[in-house]
């Protein structure tokens, strides 16, 4: 449990870790302890999964037993549905850490006559909570009762009593609710649960699905107000808390080569800082991929694991083309030092790409990561979305002191005016621009360092050529 002082509050508001990776950063500690939180969203947005994960992680990571009261899915269905996520509900139930109670309310089987209350639900919940000493409770989706009970007046007053009772019981509760057309939930549950309300959203734009999460309210606590993208993968839900990143990673003074001798010479230090992020921009045909591959090759030669994301060329195409300029990546690929991940950006949404990048980094543990080019991600997201994703990636790279090399395609002319590049360039430590120009009826190429944090560098554009031996400075040869 994390105690966070709420602004303008005299008592500290205690918070319970949600078990949803990233969410606790957004909520500054988790869900309000001992109070109900409403999770609302349309069908398929991940509400039930949120609830299950809240309980399962509560048990596994914080040793807090939990009760899941399901009004929609049977115990068996629920268990099967989350099995693929590696949530062992059966096992946890056998260990008496978890209790699942399926409440079936079928209107056709029930007659109503005269006065009644919903004490039966209270008794079942109370019994379930007490039998395992539960600290966490999920009610999924209690609104189903509206379909099963005729007397809505009784139901409403009983729900009010139920939430009050749960508060007194001191359990941290997640209540799921179906998104309504005018209100947050169909039955206006937000009226009863006012401590914390989280909205899950699932939308499809340009045929690519994205999931987003927003904290609608959080009484007595500060919280992030943005919409945060979130992922559902085989590990469950994880939120990407873009704005909560802190700049506190340690840095290296070690200098490494870019893999291109003439590029190294642009810096007084003879190379770039280890663990820094390089951005390479240029219009079509300015040898961006060659530079990127040289960087990857240099990394392999230092015996560093290298991960290369190729968004425009297939693995074989990349290997063949680089071979033609004397960059032999195949041996390193075979030795396992290099991994080339070649995939079309439009294959999946941005969040999935981010997940794939982070996952591969987790798995492969590279010391160098190349993304060639980041501009193709723009085909599946807006500039600000791509930027958000890259911030996340760069943050991860920085924390792990991984060398990063990003290329970005720009329009012909100077890339300094390109809005895409501007959005991303502030994230990079080093920015090198490549340009084509025509001199004396010959196509020439130039490279120029636009910025290099913490190192002095050459200001003038330097001409370069691509030969069968890679990128070289053509000038000495002219003499």
């Amino acid at each position: 449990m994390i105690i966070v002082m709420a602004k303008n509050a005299t008592t500290p508001l205690s918070k319970t870790p949600s078990g949803i990776s990233g969410l606790d950063e957004v909520t500054q500690g988790g869900l309000p302890t001992g109070r109900p939180t409403l999770i609302c969203g349309s069908a398929g947005c991940g509400k039930t999964l949120f609830g299950v994960q809240f309980l399962v992680k509560g048990i596994l990571d914080y040793n807090e037993p939990g009760v899941f009261m399901s009004f929609e899915e049977t115990v068996k269905d629920l268990s099967v549905n989350v099995k693929s996520l590696g949530f062992p509900l059966d096992k946890l139930a056998a260990e008496k850490k978890l209790r699942i109670d399926y409440v079936r309310v079928e209107r056709s089987e029930i007659e109503e006559t005269g006065e009644y209350d919903l004490e039966g639900i209270f008794i079942r919940l109370n019994h379930a909570i007490d039998s395992i000493g539960a600290k966490r409770v999920v009610l999924d989706t209690i609104e189903s009762l509206f379909g099963g009970i005729e007397n809505a007046a009784i139901l409403r007053s009983e729900l009010r009593r139920l939430f009050q009772w749960l508060r007194e019981k001191g359990v941290t509760v997640v209540i799921t609710g179906e998104r309504g057309e005018k209100a947050l939930t169909r039955q206006g549950l937000e009226e009863y649960v006012s401590d914390c309300v989280i909205l899950l959203d699932f939308r499809v734009a340009d045929q690519i699905a994205t999931r987003r999460l927003r904290i609608v309210k959080y009484r007595g606590s500060e919280h992030g107000t943005n919409e945060y993208p979130f992922l559902i993968d085989d590990q469950g839900i994880s939120v990407i808390p873009i704005t909560s990143l802190q700049l506190n990673h340690s840095v290296s003074k070690e200098i490494i080569s870019t893999g291109i001798p003439m590029a190294d010479k642009l810096f007084d230090s003879g190379g770039v800082f280890k663990g820094s992020s390089l951005l390479l921009t240029g219009s079509a045909g300015t040898a961006k991929t060659i530079m990127a591959s040289s960087f990857a090759l240099a990394s392999c030669k230092r015996n560093e694991r290298t991960l290369y994301f190729s968004y425009e060329e297939s693995k074989e195409q990349l290997l063949r083309n680089m071979m033609s300029v004397g960059i032999n990546l195949r041996t390193h690929l075979q030795s396992g030092l290099l991994r080339v991940q070649s995939v079309r950006p439009s294959l999946s949404g941005l969040e999935m790409h981010l997940m794939m990048i982070l996952k591969l980094m987790e798995e492969f543990k590279p010391q160098t990561v190349v993304i060639d080019p980041i501009s193709s991600l723009l085909s599946i997201g807006s500039i600000s979305e791509v930027r958000d994703i890259l911030i996340r990636v760069i943050d991860m790279l920085k924390t792990k002191k991984i060398n990063a090399f990003f290329t970005s395609l720009t329009q012909a002319g100077s890339s300094v005016d390109d809005s895409t590049v501007l959005a991303v360039s502030s994230l990079a430590d080093i920015w090198i621009e490549l340009t084509n120009d025509c001199r004396e009826q010959q196509l020439g190429r130039n490279m120029r360092v636009i910025k290099a944090r913490g190192m002095s560098h050459e200001m003038q554009p330097q001409p370069f050529s691509t030969t069968s031996k890679g990128i070289i400075d053509p000038r000495p040869l002219k003499k």
């Binding site: 007659e111 006559t113 005269g114 009644y116 039966g120 019994h127």
Partner: protein, 94 residues
């Protein structure tokens, strides 16, 4: 020989609340009137045996469950509407 049909009923309550007492009085009255000698009423107080609530899917109190004859029927409330209770339990008037 015609087999005598018997009714096995269960009344779920949570303590001696007015609603539960009314329900018990009502069902006893109807049974005496229409099922005399052919019925059993078992009273389950969930305050004493909360673990029994799950089995019969009890959520409302009081709830009357007709266990026999099958299929199981449920009536929630204080059973004050005699007609509805008789129809709900499928008891034919004599």
């Amino acid at each position: 020989m015609v087999k005598e049909m018997t009714y096995e009923l269960r009344l779920y309550i949570a303590g001696q609340t007015p609603k539960s007492v009314t329900a018990l009085n009502n069902i006893t009255k109807y049974c005496e009137e229409f099922l005399k000698g052919k019925y059993k009423i078992e009273i389950i107080d969930l305050l004493e045996t909360p673990q029994l609530a799950e089995g019969d899917q009890i959520f409302a109190i009081p709830t009357l469950v007709r266990k026999v004859p099958e299929p199981i029927r449920k009536i929630i409330g204080d059973l004050s509407d005699k007609e509805k209770v008789l129809v709900g339990l499928n008891i034919r008037k004599v």
